[in-house]
Symmetry: C2
Subunit: 108 residues, 2 copies
DNA sequence: ACGTGATATTGCAATATCACGTTAAATTTA
DNA sequence: TAAATTTAACGTGATATTGCAATATCACGT
């Protein structure tokens, strides 16, 4: 097999999972942290500081972009990334909601 | 390649990623929710309510167990699972910390 | 001891992911 | 226009994940 049977789960369950999945790789955690630290950050800077090849970083960036967590600004020949803070907030809320509801269920 | 270069990342980055990875599949989200809802829940109940085969559920349970999120109680021939609330709390804290710190960085 | 129900393990096929070399597209600079 | 720089896209090999059937194990009742 190898695929996920998304259709048997609720929209919220799929949403929590897809957000979490993006956070489920240390390179993507590192990328998100660096972009938010440096405000504007291009691909090359990430390649140098993280130590993975450019195509690999680019691929991880694409996955973070997929869930809408990145904004792009073109400045000359550089493409600068920054965090979409509204989306980050949304992401945090969705994941935290899962934890809160689970904890409430556990304690009742 | 196909493997993750964990050694180039910090312990915290790897921790956030490994917790998130476990939450990165809707079946595991559903399993965690059902176990916390029903307090005690055995494998068979999950198989019936979720609609995946028993080995698949068992495999997902093993991954959730790996990060210490499950407790087991044997009652007769039944094995009941419940949530390790301390670990759930820890997990929530680690993930939430990542979000909080990222947001702080974005806003400064 | 035997059968039964519940769960774990094994082995497999299909697919996804990770990492990278190479190439291509776009833009700046000479 | 040509060269240089940056990043996305494509292709590929290696590994991991998902899901399941078959089997093994484990605990209980008879």
């Amino acid at each position: 097999m190898g695929f996920t049977k998304k259709h048997i789960f609720s929209d919220n369950q799929n949403l929590v999972a897809s957000y979490s999945k993006v956070l489920g790789h240390p390179a993507r955690i590192s990328i998100i942290q660096q972009i938010s630290d440096k405000k504007h950050c291009n691909c090359n800077q990430l390649v140098k500081s993280i130590g993975l090849a450019q195509p690999t970083i680019s691929q991880h960036l694409a996955e973070i972009r997929k869930i809408g967590l990145l904004k792009q600004t073109v400045k000359g020949k550089n493409l600068f990334y920054s965090i979409n803070t509204e989306k980050l907030n949304d992401c945090r809320r969705i994941v935290n909601d899962f934890f809160v509801k689970t904890q409430v269920s556990c304690n009742k």
